[in-house]
Amino acid sequence: MKISTVGRHFREGAKNIFRNGWMSFASASAISISLFILGVFLLLAVNVNHWTKEVENQVEINVYLEMTATPAQVSELQNEIGSIPEVSKVEFVSKDEGIDILREKLGAAGDSILEGFDGDGNPLPDAFNVQVTEPRQVSIAAEKIEALDQGQKEPRIWKVDYGKGTVESLFRVTKIVQNVGLILVIGLAFTAMFLISNTIKLTILARRREIGIMKLVGATNNFIRWPFFIEGAVLGIVGSLIPVIILLYGYWQLVDRSRLALGTLMIQMMPLSEIGPRIALLLLGIGFLIGVWGSTISVRKFLKV
């Protein structure tokens, strides 16, 4: 293909968008609307995913020690727990620190309730605060910790607690939330593709005559295809640029305004800087592909003249 022909295809592709103004508008709008809805759900899904991860990451194992455990046994146990593969971090919490944490949690009422429990009156055991690499392996890690004490003459561990039952149902819920989000996003992506391909088919149907005339004067299939290809790509990108701008701006505003409200719930939205570029690139990519794919597929039908 000559360079001047390449230029011609780009010019023709661009001109065609304006020549077929209404149809171009319809195609770009279909892409915009579909990708906007898809984008909203994607943002929602990504954030829900983010929140569930955050909640899951708050899962930890408390290993309460026997009162009789000696400092040597304690440090030995700390090493043993630390060498379990699923464990990422072991932190020793002495009984004194334990009472402080408890007091803090109880707030103003704590002082009177916990009066007299300081020093030798402290009923709390020493403990390890254990974090795991993968939250879903918390029960496995807990079992392994319990197993460390088997065969020991003097038990060192009094109790291993990771919120058994509660944690499992939390995981069930987060898994459902993630799966539903995934299904919704996939479903929407297909709906969008269907909607867009239909619009483009209509556009091309209206130009069947035009393609027929091109073939009549001896245009090769590639010569006919290129301007449509470029037209589809431009419409796809323009169509996706609009929802990208709206979504990013809207998300930015939302993150800003919800910071306070969500902060009290101890959760945060994904920051725009992290999610923005990915969503923008993804939507632009989908728009481009849909535009190109739609026009190429539809032209092919009319080329066999």
Binding site: I213, K215, L216, F223
Partner: protein, 228 residues
């Protein structure tokens, strides 16, 4: 130039449009194809520029063997054939000059050549003043002239005209015929299907008469020969 040997055409719905046609058209001939509606005239023309394929028989056009012509070679056959229709078939959103230039862009002619040649042919068909007009702003005769300009812009060796005067009044029709005669005089073969008795009888060219998919008469300096 154009050679058919025992050519048959049966459409998928079972209609037999052509039933064993044998005919040869030489370079620089001017041939009228006449006959009642449904005689097979349009099918005959469509076979030449390969819009349809024969069901059976041998067919040669411009040195192309149309039995063996591959799909992707069809554009090259068509670049040597100019086609003109009753309904002009112009691109409605392009100006007269753009419609003509389009046929040259297809063969990747240079910009300079396209401009020069487009003006040349539009002047030849008498539309020098109308180069920027859109089809919707032109009369039927003017639109047909643009179609003729488009058909001849790449110097084809043959022009296929399917009822080119079918939608035009007698005076405009004669203008178109004088133009086609002029093009023929410059060396282009012309095959024209028509129902216009007056034109055929006045011009006295070769006449091929068809009926029910067969050639029933083929005479040089012929006449229309039947009543509609």
């Amino acid at each position: 130039m154009i050679e058919m040997q025992d050519v048959w055409k049966t459409y998928p719905d079972g209609t037999s449009a052509l039933r064993g046609l044998t005919v040869a058209i030489k370079r620089n001939e001017f041939v009228y194809i006449v006959g009642p509606s449904g005689a097979g005239k349009s099918t005959f023309m469509k076979l030449i520029y390969r819009e349809e394929r024969p069901t059976k028989g041998h067919l040669f056009v411009n040195g192309f063997n149309l039995e063996k012509l591959r799909q992707r070679k069809i554009p090259y056959l068509r670049r040597n054939i100019g086609v003109i229709f009753q309904d002009y078939r112009l691109l409605t959103k392009l100006s007269a000059a753009e419609n003509v230039a389009f046929a040259m862009e297809v063969i990747e002619a240079s910009k300079k050549n396209i401009k020069r040649r487009t003006h040349e042919v539009l002047e030849m068909v008498g539309l020098k003043e109308r180069i920027d007009a859109l089809p919707s702003q032109m009369s039927g005769g003017e639109q047909q002239r643009v179609a003729i300009a488009r058909a001849i812009v790449n110097n084809p060796s043959v022009i296929i005209a399917d009822e080119p005067t079918g939608n035009l009044d007698p005076e405009t029709s004669w203008g178109i015929m004088r133009l086609l005669e002029d093009i023929n005089f410059r060396g282009t073969t012309i095959v024209m299907a028509t129902h216009n008795k007056e034109i055929v009888n006045t011009m006295r060219k070769r006449v091929i008469a068809m009926e029910k998919g067969l050639i029933i008469r083929d005479q040089l300096k012929g006449e229309y020969g039947y009543e509609d």
